[in-house]
């Protein structure tokens, strides 16, 4: 695409330059036009520059985000595509170690088929590390968690297409201590330098066992945590603190007695870090054929990470945003250059009369446009880059600010990693792409406008008479309409037969918008309006069409098509009915001294210049449309979150839970002893299997509630089964009722959507669970096993709605249902829920709970902090998106300024006439401002209405089921008034100049 654009640009520029040299007089004329009206030139260049800047800015946003996503993958995985681990688990969740011989068959098979370019056995485990004498310290600046990775350094150089080079690491003088490499992040966190000795603590319990000597290592080099060196193992977190050593040393330090044993086999597919992932499917097939499937598991880690990264909402949001921002930029460019061409019409007509050929006439305006667009697109690239840099910097600062709210040890390190990775980035091709678009769009518009004018009747061109289309162009247009109509029918058909919502809706949109133009309807305006309204109504109800509803969740094209359909239909509806606005405003504003002629003139100009008004209205509407979407959705989520305050921790104020494998929970008594804690309850969780009505088994967490829970919870968001008696139905009593029975349960709709209130379901406890990561457990087998224990049948008496924002989703039952012995075997996790007094000592209570968490390596969260955190993060992201869109709003504002300045020049003589026949200065001034107001208000209203309609449409999709729309009226009012006032402000100058024009001079005005 880029090469194609570059080639076109090169041909066009060469053609224009050669033409300039061969037609010096036309060149001179075009060049001098630039300096004729400096303010006008400045506005054209400014507008054109902003259009380009918006396009470049959008591309840069996407590039930065994409680079961040892929840099994370590259940094943490490098060329690792799959990881092979043993399937079996120990009681504590550790996987069995294996020896290389066990996987030899697989590696040979993959090697023979040339599917891979490297295998690397490693030993990886999370530990706590500190400088000599500091690993046991509670001070986070002295000790931190890090991943130990044992790897054969000699194999690193051959791993992957490029290998991992450690050539610049100088070996230290040998001593008794194992030599290790550490990552730069770890070095930075603990101020470690080469030559320092580190202590490694495998289990946090050793913190208290101070008589046990911790193993020590010496740092012989500091490396960047990239690729394989950035990988921490399947079970470790995402931070980049690593200690890399040879496998023998790793075994000694981790106290592994089995020689030549490893816990992970890293596999790099042929190709680089991205292209290799394409072979994952084939590699997994070979793995399944190798017979290792029973003993080993192959994790397609690269594929998983790419999928996770590219499905993120932020990426989607930026993509949609960019599409609309680019569209707004194109609209601005189109508007400016169409106006320029129109302005030059009389001159070009005169040139034709003087004997200029059509080609030379078209060339004259092309040269002028070339000067403007080449300056503007170059400047636009620079401006777009600078503005996007500022916005992204704001984004990184926001993440740092939000991270400060997180009471998590590794947050600062993770943010530092994020800060380094999420930086402004723009691909060279994006710069060229933006530049070429900024150059070619104006040239294309000017070229076709020039052509159109050159073909006009000379008298019509000179005298400014609207050109009536000749038979030939009319016929051409008619055929084009028929062809487009045919294309739309084909698209609709193809969309239905392939069940492709985006194609179907795009076809329908095209068809409905073209249809009224294709036939000579007597009352075309009515037909056009009916079609536009029908399209909006259809899109709003489109989620009732099954295949569209299914794709509404994740089809980005469908989302964009829906948005464009509503926006376009709304825009055309307004443009078709501009005259109606004229009549309405005329009637509404008829009364009042001098108001009528002012309104008449102001609205008439906008209503009759449909193309210009339509384009300017569209510029406002597009940006306001997307701002509306970006405002309503997070605001609704924020409101729903606030309304779910009592759902987050099931009606308690705070929670305390163990942090991963190394964490330990404090006792209930320890928490209860803290001043300000009013009640504490222990929420034990165990995995249960539930036999669903469909005959399928589902495994979900079961939360075992004690009496204290029922006494203290204020959670009420439960939909009750009508079978429970009236007194029991009172939501205040439902948890108490549950705690007194051993045959009823409450379930979360989010994890068990199939279960219906009143169902009698059978529950089992799985005999085996496995640890799949720090704090993450799963039953060893997804299906019901023979040794699983039946708990009996339970009636579902309540459901927590799917929209409830809570940390605990699963089945809720009284603790007494599971007998004590069984409980001690099956409980995989415990969490404390507590209520705290909300008096002035709350801060102190929080601090004490936090300190207790630190001491025990557990985590504690308060619900209000969580809500604040989520809202701050959401608001921050939305504010940054909005700031980009406010920049987009400049498009509309510059557009209206250009329109009004042009109007000033175009209507100079008319203003003179108006003043001559009795328009006072104030009336002329008001007529200009009213014209601006009309365009701006219609644009803002259209964007707002279509944006709101689109939001309602989105919320009607299955993805947002149960979500409610909340309108941020305050934000909208502020935004609307601000944009309106700024728009008026930029048109004050032309309005004032017009009002001060001397009628005699204005009447003499001829250029």
């Amino acid at each position: 695409m880029l090469v194609f654009l570059a080639a076109i640009a090169l041909v066009v520029v060469s053609f224009i330059v050669i033409s300039m040299l061969s037609d010096r007089i036309t060149f001179k004329m075009s060049f001098r036009n630039i300096f004729r009206r400096k303010a006008n030139t400045l506005l054209v260049v400014a507008g054109s520059m902003i259009g380009t800047a918006l396009i470049v800015g959008s591309l840069a946003m996407n590039d930065s985000l994409e680079r961040f996503i892929y840099s994370q993958i590259r940094e943490t995985l490098g060329e690792i595509d799959q990881v092979v681990v043993t399937s079996a688990e120990s009681d504590r969740g550790y996987r069995r170690l294996f020896q290389l011989d066990e996987v030899k068959e697989l590696t040979s098979l993959l090697d023979e088929e040339d599917l891979i370019d490297g295998v690397l056995p490693i030993l990886a485990r999370e530990v706590t590390v500190g400088k000599e004498g500091s690993a046991r310290s509670m001070d986070r600046s002295l000790s931190t968690s890090a991943a130990v990775m044992g790897v054969d350094f000699s194999l690193l150089a051959d791993f992957g297409s490029q290998g991992v080079s450690l050539a610049d690491i100088d070996p230290l003088v040998q001593n008794d201590l194992p030599q290790v490499l550490i990552t730069r992040e770890l070095s930075k966190t603990l101020q470690i330098e080469v030559g320092d000795v580190l202590e490694v603590m495998i289990d946090t319990a050793e913190r208290l066992l101070f008589w046990i000597e911790l193993p020590r290592v010496m740092v012989s080099g500091i490396v960047d945590a990239q690729g394989v060196l950035g990988y921490s193992g399947l079970r470790q977190g995402m931070n980049n603190a690593k200690i890399i050593m040879n496998p023998d040393d790793a075994r000694r330090i981790l106290r592994i007695g089995i020689e030549n044993s490893f816990n992970e086999l890293l596999i790099s597919n042929r190709g680089d870090y991205l292209s290799g992932a394409a072979l994952t499917g084939t590699v997994i097939e070979r793995f399944e054929e190798s017979g290792l499937e029973d003993e080993f598991t192959m994790v397609p880690i690269k594929e998983q990470r790419i999928r996770m990264a590219t499905q993120g909402n932020v990426g989607l949001l930026f993509f949609a945003l960019s599409a609309f921002a680019v569209f707004a930029g194109i609209l601005l460019l189109s508007n400016i250059y169409l106006m320029l061409a129109e302005e030059r019409r009389t001159e070009l007509g005169t040139l034709r009369a003087l004997g200029y050929t059509r080609k030379r006439v078209a060339r004259a305006i092309l040269f002028e446009g070339f000067f403007y667009s080449i300056i503007a697109s170059a400047a636009g690239v620079v401006v777009g880059i600078i503005i996007t840099m500022q916005i992204l910097e704001g984004f990184v600062d926001l993440v740092s600010d939000v991270s400060m709210l997180l009471p998590i040890e590794n947050a600062a390190m993770a943010v530092s990693t994020f800060e380094q990775a999420f930086r402004f980035f723009i691909k060279p091709e994006s710069i060229f792409f933006g530049f070429f678009l900024g150059l070619l769009i104006p040239l294309a518009i000017i070229f076709f406008s020039g052509k159109r004018i050159s073909r006009m009747n000379i008298v019509a061109a000179v005298r400014g008479i609207p050109q009536v289309l000749g038979k030939k162009p009319k016929r051409f247009l008619r055929y084009l309409e028929y062809i487009l109509l045919g294309v739309s029918v084909l698209m609709v058909y193809s969309g239905i037969s392939d069940r492709n919502g985006a194609v179907f809706l795009a076809g329908l949109t095209l068809g409905l918008l073209i249809f009224p133009l294709s036939f000579p309807f007597k009352r075309r305006r009515i037909m056009e309006s009916i079609c536009s309204i029908s399209l909006i109504v259809f899109v709003m109800l489109s989620n009732h069409v099954t295949f569209i509803a299914e794709q509404s969740i994740d089809s980005i094209p469908l989302m964009i098509v829906k948005g464009f359909a509503i926006l376009f239909a709304g825009l055309l509806l307004v443009v078709y009915n501009l005259k109606t606005f004229d009549n309405i405003l005329g009637t509404v504003m008829r009364n009042g001294k001098n108001r009528s002629p002012v309104v008449k003139v102001a609205i008439a100009f906008s209503a009759r210049n449909k193309l210009r008004t339509g384009l300017t209205v569209a510029m406002y509407a597009v940006v306001v449309y997307i701002i509306t979407l970006v405002s309503i959705i997070p605001y609704s989520q924020e409101k729903m979150l606030e309304e779910s305050r009592n759902d987050v921790f099931l009606g308690f104020d705070a929670t305390v839970f163990a942090a991963g494998l190394q964490g330990r929970l404090p006792s209930e008594a320890e928490i209860g002893a803290i001043r300000g804690v009013e009640s504490v309850t222990t929420l034990d969780s165990a995995f249960t299997r539930i036999l669903l009505p469909s005959g399928r088994y589902s495994t979900v967490p079961a939360y075992l509630l004690d009496d204290e829970f029922a006494e203290s919870t204020i959670h009420r968001n439960v939909v009750l089964w009508e079978g429970v008696s009236e007194t029991q139905q009172a939501r205040e009593n439902i948890w108490k009722y549950l705690s007194q029975r051993d045959d009823v349960i409450i379930v979360s709709a989010s994890v068990l959507p199939e279960v219906v209130l009143g169902d009698n379901v059978q529950l089992y406890l799985p005999a085996k669970v496995e640890i799949i990561g720090p704090g993450f457990f799963m039953p060893a087998s997804p299906e019901l096993a023979e040794e699983d224990i039946s708990l009996g049948y339970f009636r579902v008496i309540g459901k927590i709605p799917e929209t409830s924002f809570t940390f605990f989703n699963g089945i809720f039952m009284p603790r007494s249902v599971v007998d004590e012995e069984l409980r001690s075997d099956m409980i995989v996790d415990s969490t404390f829920l507590l209520n705290a007094s909300s008096d002035k000592d709350l801060k102190q209570t929080k601090q004490e709970i936090f300190d207790l968490s630190i001491r025990t390596n557990s985590l504690s969260f308060f619900v209000d902090d969580i809500i604040d955190l989520v809202n701050t993060a959401v608001r921050g992201i939305v504010d940054i998106l909005r700031s980009f869109l406010y920049f987009g709003m400049v498009v509309g504002i510059v557009g209206i300024a250009i329109v009004m300045f042009k109007a000033l020049y175009e209507r100079k003589r008319l203003v003179g006439m108006m003043k001559a026949i009795g328009f006072t200065r104030g009336m002329v001034f008001r007529s200009f401002l009213l014209e601006t107001s009309f365009i701006v208000v219609v644009g803002l209203a259209l964007g707002f209405v279509t944006g709101t309609l689109t939001t309602y449409e989105m919320f009607s999709s299955p993805f947002f089921e149960g979500f409610e729309v909340f309108m941020p009226w305050g934000q909208f009012l502020f935004m609307g008034i601000t944009f309106y006032l700024v728009s008026l402000l930029v048109t004050l100058a032309p309005s004032y100049i017009a009002s001060r024009l001397s009628p005699a001079e204005a009447l003499r005005y001829f250029e």
Binding site: G464, I465, K600, A607, M913, K915, I917, G918, S998
Partner: protein, 229 residues
């Protein structure tokens, strides 16, 4: 006392260091219901004189007293209002608002004087009828011929029944036949409504319709002669 008194009117245009005397101490009088033609070669200052007389341009010195009011002593807004109620304008290039139709263009002159819209509509249609354009009331300027546009322009000048109508080269953009028709119309209106017409032209045939002819050259009055139609 004359209806319009012009006393020692001078106008100097200054462009950088260059000054041009467009009008040099001009004095004369115009009677009520008179048709006065201002004649002279191109660039002699006749349009400048008309602009200063009508109050759309400021003289450097001198007075223009219309019906006892020194119009240049008025504030800009008062002067504008005075024009709105007492004057009508016909321009060489019509100066119709392209986005308003013929009727709306005519209405504009009434609406500026505060006439209610319904009444303005009725009066505009009547006036268009008087100038022979009743069938074209809803046409936009671009759909009318040059003569028709000038008729609309005249209708706009007449609709609010002003005391004076200023016409700057009203036939300048028209052919001979249309020019004659238009002047006949002006003459007829003058007789019927008793309005004062001041017409700037360089066409001798137009001046034949006048009661008096003011010859101007190099910003000075060369002669002021009576003509019998």
């Amino acid at each position: 006392m004359a209806f319009i008194e012009v006393k020692n009117l001078s106008k100097v245009y200054t462009n950088g260091e260059v000054s041009v005397d467009a009008l040099k101490d001009v004095s004369f009088e115009i009677d009520e219901a008179e048709i006065l033609s201002i004649l002279g070669p191109s660039g002699c200052g006749k349009s400048t004189l008309l602009n200063c007389l009508s109050g759309i341009d400021e003289p450097t010195s001198g007075q223009v007293i219309i019906d006892g009011i020194d119009i240049h002593a008025l504030s800009d807004n008062d002067k504008t209002r005075f024009r709105a109620f007492n004057m009508g304008f016909v321009f060489q290039f019509y100066n119709l608002i392209p986005v308003l139709n013929a009727r709306e263009n005519v209405e504009l002159a009434l609406l500026t004087t505060g006439v209610p819209e319904k009444q303005a509509r009725r009066l505009s249609v009547d006036t268009l009828d008087r100038v022979g354009l009743n069938q074209r009331a809803e046409y936009f300027p671009s759909q009318l011929s040059g003569g028709e546009r000038q008729r609309v322009s005249i209708a706009r000048a007449l609709v609010h029944n002003p005391k004076i109508i200023w016409a700057d080269e009203p036939t300048g953009a028209l052919d001979t036949e249309t020019s004659k028709e238009l002047m006949d119309l002006i003459l007829d209106l003058n007789k019927t409504n008793n309005q004062t017409f001041v017409i700037v032209t360089h066409d001798d045939r137009i001046s034949n319709y006048s009661d008096r002819i003011l010859h101007v050259d190099s910003g000075k009055i060369v002669s002021l002669e009576s003509v019998k139609v």
